[in-house]
């Protein structure tokens, strides 16, 4: 059954990708790419990657689609049918594809347990992590403890992307004043939607916190929780307008928190150094190594969550401010 679902989902994915390649209405393309990420998340779940499915569900189907839609609002909806020559591109693609398929012929079969991938470090993670770290979710323990450096790097990449978008899409004071004077009427008439969203918002926030702190025991963790939290704030922004939301999440606070998360992560590492261990070696944080690991993972995941949430909210705000600017000033 698992294999059957796998095959069907993969075929759906190819069909969706082909449709994406063919369509010229970018709005439809973005919506199909939303379906594409829903499909890929189901596929990840089918292949036992629960944490990845979680992330793809919240990132790919949620935030990514919204960002694409916001930028479509700024750049226009249709792709021009220009006179590109597909034959050359098609030739290159077919040649590369044939070579890659030839390369797969030697690969060990899908799902076989004696693949080289499974012989290296994975058995150690699976067998020893319970004794060394004491967290049932092996993905969390590898993410936050065994490969802590790596995750620090990824968090920094997200932080840097936040800085990049902030400096590319700056907002003038004039735009802000304009937005405050005029009530955003976009969703004003959708009363039912507004009421339901107001009711759902606390639910989303609580769920984000659950995902954040339950990540040791089930699927979840800082990345997912941050994105879900941001999605809640984005829902509120879409229905109640930017200036209302910015009263709760002012720009300065978001920037501060984005930096704070990275600092918390790095700070835990430095504390470990000061207490006599290696960088990000949580064993020394408490008397008992396992307790130290628990505390370290909790703090590090919190740092990741804070950074991801504030950077995602920040990026969405920047794009929405830009649409406000275009609406009132660029004609």
């Amino acid at each position: 059954m698992e294999t059957l679902i796998d095959i069907v989902l993969l075929s759906f994915l190819v069909l969706t990708a082909l449709a994406v390649a063919k369509m010229h209405d970018l709005f439809a393309v973005v919506m199909l790419s939303g379906i594409y990420s829903l499909l890929s998340a189901s596929l990840f779940l089918d292949l036992d990657a629960v944490d990845v499915a979680f992330t793809e569900a919240s990132v790919g189907a949620g935030i990514s689609t919204l960002l694409f839609l916001a930028s479509l609002k700024l750049v226009g909806r249709y792709e021009k049918r220009t006179r590109y020559r597909p034959m050359l591109a098609l030739g290159v693609v077919l040649a590369t594809g044939t070579l890659l398929i030839y390369g797969t012929l030697d690969m060990p079969h899908f799902g076989s347990p004696d693949t080289p991938v499974h012989q290296h470090v994975a058995p150690r993670y699976l067998n020893d992590s319970m004794a060394e770290i004491g967290v049932p979710n092996v993905v969390t323990s590898v993410l936050a403890s065994y490969r802590g450096y790596d995750t620090l790097g990824e968090t920094l990449v997200i932080f840097t992307a936040g800085i990049g978008v902030t400096s590319l899409l700056r907002v003038s004071r004039r735009t802000k004043r304009e937005e405050q004077q005029r009530v955003p009427a976009d969703m004003q008439q959708q009363i039912i939607l507004r009421v339901v969203a107001k009711w759902m918002l606390p639910l989303i926030m609580v769920f984000a916190l659950y995902v954040q702190f339950h990540g040791d025991y089930g699927p979840g963790g800082g990345f997912q929780a941050g994105v879900i939290f941001a999605a809640g704030v984005i829902l509120y922004t879409m229905l109640y307008g930017l200036s209302t939301t910015q009263k709760v999440f002012p720009r300065k606070m978001l920037e501060l928190f984005a930096a704070l998360g990275v600092l918390l992560y790095g700070g835990v590492g430095i504390t470990c150094l000061l207490l006599g261990g290696n960088f990000l070696d949580y064993n020394v944080l408490r008397h008992d190594p396992v307790h130290g690991q628990h505390l370290g993972i909790l703090l590090v995941e919190l740092g990741v969550g804070i950074t991801v949430a504030s950077v995602m909210i920040m990026i969405f705000f920047k794009f929405t401010w830009r649409t406000v600017k275009h609406k009132y000033f660029v004609k």
Binding site: Q190, I192, L193, V196, M200, L203
Partner: protein, 117 residues
């Protein structure tokens, strides 16, 4: 005995839920225009989803899984219906008209609604 009964009941719920989902899917595919499609899809969606989730609940027993299933049920009941409402409203506002009302679209109250929005 009771377990067998619960099992059978959950099978019945799962199967009928799948049946309603399938009807909705066929309706979504076969109906001629947007409003009849949304009618087919959203109604069966609510019913089919609730039936399937209830079937799963009977399998879950009284655990944390049950609580999560109830949460999904509440969410799908509220979010699904709201989303359908918003979609239909947006489509109506954009000037689309149900097929059997094409001629009536010039009627005063529908016109007034459109002008207002």
């Amino acid at each position: 005995m009771i377990e067998l009964l619960l099992d059978m009941l959950s099978w019945v719920l799962l199967l009928s839920g799948s049946f309603f989902c399938l009807t909705g899917g066929i309706g979504l595919m076969r109906f001629p225009e947007f409003f009849s499609r949304i009618h087919a899809a959203s109604l069966t969606d609510t019913l089919g989803a609730s039936l399937i989730l209830m079937g799963l609940m009977l399998q879950a027993g009284i655990t944390i899984t049950l609580a999560k299933l109830i949460m999904i049920l509440i969410l799908s009941l509220i979010a699904g219906t709201t989303a359908s409402h918003a979609m239909a409203k947006a489509a109506l506002k954009s000037g689309m008209c149900p097929l059997d009302q094409v001629d009536r679209s010039q009627q005063p109250e529908i016109k007034a609604y459109k002008d207002k929005s």
